[in-house]
Amino acid sequence: MIYFAALALAIGLGTAIAALGCGIGQGTAVRGALEGVARQPEAGGRILSMMIIGLALIESLTIYALVLGFILLGKLPDTAQIMSLLQK
């Protein structure tokens, strides 16, 4: 039973904690981009492109955790199966 509980906790918390770091990182990136545009509005287009690329790279780290979550999700059995296991 601890196995299933730990697995469910890992699935739930894994992506959440990864998203925490991703939120901080992307917030810092966007802050840098906004400061750059505020200093020099003519560079807005180029700064936007670089910001989008940077955001996609930071987000890919959270996507790795999400993929692990999907893989672990496949190892969780159905509720009906756990109920029948609990009855024994």
Partner: protein, 264 residues
């Protein structure tokens, strides 16, 4: 105590055998979860299904090309106009990264962009699946990119391409060599998992919304899906271009200071 631990470990396998769900459990290696996770109630998609959809994307691109190059004019109209705009974008991506010498890599890089974009866009149409939602297909694309980068590096530098992995000073190279090799080998993995995770996760969210709430709720995901589709195709292409430019740069600048190296 060991009996209970062993029972915990083998419980999923026993349950699967008891309920005849063994084929679904063994498919988790390819990243597709079993049918009860979040699928829309259809059959369980195998990698061959995604291969079929990627072949459909290939056929779509070919037919677009065939129709667009019919009756070429000097002043383009209609489909030829769209094709020329797309070609300008595809040539612009390597030029943005490498400058003028990027134009020779534009066919290779542009193929990635167009192919991944069409495969991703097919996922927005209900009834079709995006080909990139299978780790097999994205891994295939990333491995092709990896081997092409190595080939271009050897073609540009000959055997001294190995010196790229040696770092700035020669007496530290035995430490830096494994690190650089590992970081080079991790690139196809990160490319493939990034693309696969984004597109597959998007698809799972839409199917979960459709099952739990209603199909109308899944329509709300559409703007985010379109953004992700274009962005992921662009990021894949851009990263492949950056890797090519790193492998084929002629002048040996300080290894860590160029803007492209910062995109590791």
């Amino acid at each position: 105590m060991f009996d209970s631990l062993l029972q915990l470990h083998t419980a999923p396998i026993l349950l699967a055998q008891a309920h005849g769900a063994a084929p679904a459990e063994t498919h988790t290696a390819t990243g597709t979860p079993p049918a009860h996770a979040a699928e829309g109630g259809g059959e369980h998609p195998t990698p061959l299904t995604f291969l079929g959809f990627s072949a459909l994307a290939f056929v779509l691109i070919l037919s677009f090309l065939a129709l667009g190059t019919r009756g070429l004019r000097i002043v383009p109209r209609g489909l030829q106009n769209a094709m020329e705009m797309i070609t300008e974008i595809l040539y612009g991506i390597p030029e943005m990264v490498m400058g003028e010498r990027g134009r020779q890599y534009a066919p290779f890089v542009g193929t990635f962009f167009l192919y991944i974009l069409v495969m991703n866009l097919m996922g927005l149409i209900p009834g079709l699946k995006p080909g990139t939602a299978s780790l097999s297909i994205t891994l295939g694309l990333a491995v092709v990119a990896f081997f092409m980068v190595q080939y271009l590096g050897f073609k540009t530098h000959g055997i001294s391409y190995i010196k790229h992995f040696a770092g700035p000073v020669w007496w530290l190279s035995f430490l830096i060599f494994p690190l650089e090799i590992i970081s080079e080998l991790v690139r196809p993995m990160s490319l493939s998992i990034r693309l696969y995770g984004n597109i597959f996760g998007e698809e799972q969210v839409v199917s979960a919304l459709t099952n739990q709430l209603s199909p109308a709720a899944a329509v709300l995901m559409l703007p985010l899906q379109v953004l992700t589709v274009f962005l992921q195709a662009f990021v894949f292409t851009l990263l492949v271009t950056v890797y090519i430019s790193l492998a084929t740069e002629k002048h040996e600048n300080d290894h860590g200071e160029t803007a492209e190296a910062a995109a590791h």
